[in-house]
Amino acid sequence: MTPSTSKVGSIADAVALIPDGTRLAIGGFAIYQHPMAVVRALIRAGRRDLTVVGTVNGNEVDLLAGAGCLKRVETSYVGLEKYGLAPNFRRAVEEERIEVVDYPEVLSFDRFRASQENLTFWPCDYLGGTDVLARNPDIRIFTCPITGRSLQAVPPADPEVVVLHAIAADERGNVILPRRHLLPQGLDVIMARGCDTVIVTVEKIVPRALVRRHAEQVQIPAYKTRLVVEAPWGAHPTAVLGRYATDDAHFRDYVAASANPDGFAAYIDRYVHAPADHAAYLERIGAERLGALTELDTL
């Protein structure tokens, strides 16, 4: 018998799939469960001119914006929730270093549904009178052939690459979601289903036998994934639901450092450039801090 193909690779393999200029969707939501190990590696590799197409974005876009990796962002939100505005994104937009295309939140979800269904547009009827419509030449007006109403055709998200972070997958690339998940994990699945190059970093690569005992929790089957990377604590400083909490102190330090470009430069020197890889990053954060963030989901 011929063995099945392993999809397991490294963070460097992930970065190689995301060249300069890639149209990229990054899993997670606001300040929750982003594939931060890959985000840091993209900065370390000096990636430029990326377009991030998203739904609700947070510190992952702020970090890439501050590091000069982004050309364009299409989303409904970039912010840090209780930690305030996204300081580096804000600076980059105000200095006209990044182009932002604003989409309403639900429509930003629907753009990925359009990609999942391989549609050329998603129909919408509620953008009249907004600057979302007035300032976006990619949204076209058309007449509904059934009712004759004037509608808006919204372009699909169509990411070239999706990268997201999950709790577990097997070597073949079957990805497990926690039974008790929330919208951020649900949206990751929609993103993954609308793209042919899906990279999943996971807390743990687990035996196929374990996956088969929890098959009802596999929302992204192996044939949808291109690459699986084991990256324990790979979402730090964001949370992974059911595994570890947001690193509140790290977020506060990040926001304080980002008050000016010099402070941000010192931050990325310390947490992105100086550590050679993800393991070195975790060493820098320290076992004591990481251990304190652990959450016990079930007993």
């Binding site: 970039v78 209780k82 505005l85 105000e94 604003d102 309403p104 009178g129 919208l183 639901l241």
Partner: protein, 282 residues
């Protein structure tokens, strides 16, 4: 609350209580109300805590079948079990807060385009005379002076929900302008007829609630108007601190809560003062 030295019925209504009661009276039984999870002191109070208290009060009074959507996804959360207001939309604390139903993916339990949501609460840095709101930027959008978070769910709030309560935590001239710098949520440009011409046949802003007053709209004309002020002294302040002309003639005071409403708010809805900061605190 045995052992408390407070007397729940004592004390004049606070501003937060007065606003919560006005909102509660405007909700109908069977409606579905949607609130986000706003953070930061005044913003959280206006954007999340007052709306939650208002909806829970309505449930206790005349609307037992009203559905509260906390953060848009937790259906009828057990607010009384909270010891602090949640400040993260999608963490384990909110996941584990007992509730009737949870939204685990999109599309989820509610169908936003079918009109499942009867009313919502939103906010912005600017609101203008026709009721447009803005959470995207200050200044020319092509080269903004201040870039803010983005439109988020405002376009949907202002068109797909049955009606919208715009909750403004601060009342200053820079927040109440002739014309917003970016329309992220649309009001009544050209009145209801203007909205129809834009293809909008549903929803729109109902009230704009501030620490000094409540505005509503002449929807036919498409013009904001003063509905009530929270105190006599606020009348002059509203005129001075609003960036567009306000007709203050004959404007009444915001309705005062009844004793029953206050007791329900203080004893039942918010016994620990988690939502409204405790009675007696202005």
């Amino acid at each position: 609350m045995s052992g408390s030295h407070h007397t729940p019925s004592a004390g004049a209504p606070t501003l937060a209580e007065t606003i919560a009661v006005s909102l509660a009276r405007s909700f109908s039984d069977g409606e579905v109300g949607f609130t986000g999870l706003v953070t930061g002191d005044a913003a959280a109070l206006f954007g999340t805590s007052i709306p939650l208290a208002a909806m829970a009060l309505a449930q206790a009074m005349h609307a037992p079948n009203l559905t509260i959507l906390l953060a848009g996804w937790s259906h009828n959360p057990d607010l009384q079990s909270l010891s602090v207001m949640p400040d993260s939309e999608f963490d384990a604390a909110l996941r584990d807060l007992p509730c009737d139903a949870q939204m685990m993916t999109y599309p989820g339990p509610w169908s936003i385009r079918r009109g499942d949501i009867d009313f919502g609460f939103s906010s912005g840095v600017q609101v203008d005379v026709v009721g447009n709101i803005n959470s995207v930027c200050i200044g020319d959008p092509t080269r903004p002076k201040v870039r803010l978070v983005g439109p988020i769910l405002q376009p949907e709030h202002m068109t797909l929900f049955g009606r919208e309560y715009v909750m403004m935590p601060h009342h200053a001239r820079r927040n109440f302008v002739e014309r917003v710098d970016y329309v992220s949520g649309v009001g009544y440009p050209g009145g209801l007829e203007g909205r129809r011409r834009l293809g909008l046949h549903h929803g729109g802003p109902e009230w704009v609630v501030t620490p000094k007053c409540i505005f509503d709209f002449d929807k036919e004309k498409g013009r904001i108007r003063l509905r009530s002020v929270h105190s006599e002294a606020d009348l002059q302040r509203v005129v001075e601190q609003t960036g567009f002309d306000v007709d203050s003639a004959g404007v009444p005071l915001t309705a005062v809560p009844t004793q029953e409403e206050l007791e329900l708010l203080r004893r039942h809805v918010d016994p620990k003062g988690v939502l409204l900061g405790g009675y007696g605190i202005g």
